[in-house]
């Protein structure tokens, strides 16, 4: 079997464990100064257990990385499905843009723009189908949420200003 180990997955796993610990440290210091000690009854022991577990996880990751090099095996859990492909990257960016647009131009316009864009990103070849589909789907979603369930959907700051 070809040697496939790289520092990539190892570093990513260290990043996950470290990021979680950093968030825990920030949170711990945020609650540390609370006047009432009862407010951190559960948080303090949970935090200190995490501090103890962190070096164990790092040690486990190093051991696994060494073992992977030694055995020259493919790194588990780092298959194609979990790699950040261009498609997934653009998917994430498009969701981010959609959420920003939702706030400014509201549900109807942003959804009509978002749905076909995402369909094309995900590999739809037809040019017309996504546009027709998005108009119908947006209409149905609007009917369901706004009209049937009475849940107001975002109008958008800009549209609200015009109205």
């Amino acid at each position: 079997m070809q040697k496939t180990f790289s520092n990539g997955p190892f570093i990513h796993r260290i990043i996950v464990a470290t990021s979680i610990l950093i968030l825990a440290v920030i949170y711990f210091f945020d609650v540390k100064d609370l006047k009432n000690p009862h407010d951190r009854l559960l948080i303090s022991p949970v935090f200190w257990i995490m501090v103890i577990l962190y070096p164990i996880i790092i040690w486990q990751e190093i051991r696994e990385a060494k073992k992977t090099i030694h055995d020259s095996e493919e790194v588990e859990g780092d298959g194609d499905s979990y790699r950040l492909t261009k498609k997934v990257g653009f998917f994430m960016i498009s969701v981010m843009i959609y959420l920003i647009l939702l706030n400014y131009i509201g549900f109807i316009i942003s959804t009509i723009l978002f749905l076909p864009a995402l369909m094309w990103i995900l590999g739809t070849k037809s040019r017309l189908f996504p546009i027709i589909f998005s108009i119908i789907a947006t209409g149905l979603l609007y009917l369901f949420f706004d009209i049937l369930l009475g849940i107001p959907l975002p109008i958008g700051i800009l549209i609200e200003g015009v109205l």
């Binding site: 996950v16 995490m50 994430m92 369930l149 009475g150 959907l153």
Partner: protein, 503 residues
Amino acid sequence: MIDWNTLLEGISLFMSWSNFLLIIVGLAFGVTLGAIPGLTGSLGIALMLPLTFTMDPLPAFVFLISIYTGGLFGGAITAILINTPGSPAAVATTLDGYAMTKRGLSGKALGLAIGASSTGGLIGAIVLLIIIQPLASFALKFGPTEMFIIAVFGLTIISSIQEGGFIKSIYGGLFGILLGTVGMTSTGAMRGTFGNVQLLDGIPMIPALIGLFAVSELFVLADKKYVSNKQEGVIEQSYSSQILSGIKRVYKYPFNLLRSGSIGVFIGALPAAGSTIASLVSYNEAKRFSKKKAEFGKGSEEGLVAAESANNASEGGALATMLVLGIPGSASTAMLLGAIIMQGWVPGPRLFIDNSEVLYGIIFSVVIQVILLLVVGAIIAMLAGKIINIPNNILVPIIITFALIGSFAVRNMIFDAFLVFIFGLIGWYLRKNKYPIIAVVLGLILGPIADKELLRSVQLHGENTMLAFIERPVSLILIIITIIGVLTPILMERYGKKKQQTN
């Protein structure tokens, strides 16, 4: 126990075609809402509450409780088909349900869920009918110390997660607990909000769940053509026969059904515990008792049956506490309590004494509801099952839009939709690096309960809190059960290995 004359009067009050029709409409509405990520049965009850104002008490409650029953099952549909628990109670269902879908067995998984929900609901209804009063009174003996241990007991499921290993599961679970404690405490202190008023009530559960489960899965699905690996657009076996065979298979696990149903009723009766803890605890117990532990999380029928039967059985327990004591254990039962007040009734112990015929009629209607759920649930599941035949380039955009808008709809806040996206990214990155998402979710759900109950215990018992855990008999029994629960699988595994070596 049962007052047979009053029960017969209640049944005769219930027997009318209009009540049966109300059950079918209520179930269909509840199942549909429950299946949509972000929307729950309690929203359905809230929406329909004004309609029942002019109705008589019996049909009004038959209709509202049907929505409740349908909503409890509905969450399983999307949990199985697209790894998105329609409600927090369906979290345990995703573990094996979605694994079955990926193997091309979605119809069977849906059938198992329908059968288990219906049977679990039936167990709940029968228990409700028989021991409504003693059960509700016993549940009241549960103080904060006992509730804390129950939450810890639920958290022990983390120790049995195999994905990523024991240490990573615990680490993820602890991270979830910390996330779950963000927000304003009961003493008015702010924890981890960093000035963000939208986090005062804590991290909202539904956006977090949708993000961690659904959106992270959508990021993975984006690179695939279809949800299921086995089928590329065509279902080999008829979907209806898959569902039917799934329903039949449920009855191959009678002990699992009884155990999970009993756990569901009991935990459902505890105020503020509810169906989520019930399904998680019974899933954990099913794994502990199973001979095929390794299959759990990979498409185990036993796991799915345990989660769904306990989920629906919890309804019986929750209704017992609500109807007899006037204590709502969840958003749905709080809404039903609102309906009781709207009908001019006074919640509390006298409710059962003053209106026993109507209440027996309502309880009998729950029995009919869970039987009709087999038909209504199967029809809706058959229609919903077609989802996995849609190619991902069309399915993914629709689901993500639904997920974002559904989360927005809960509190009418774009912030919640952003949270869905952020938790989606977190979930995707955790999966990529072999951290079990379910551990984080368990911490997120049970952490705040444990935190709140521990605080209440300390406020109640002061310096003697530790002593109270041991001195209170129910608490002590729960501690022993928890320790046995954690140690048994470890000891059994060692014993099994030794036996293998000897052989």
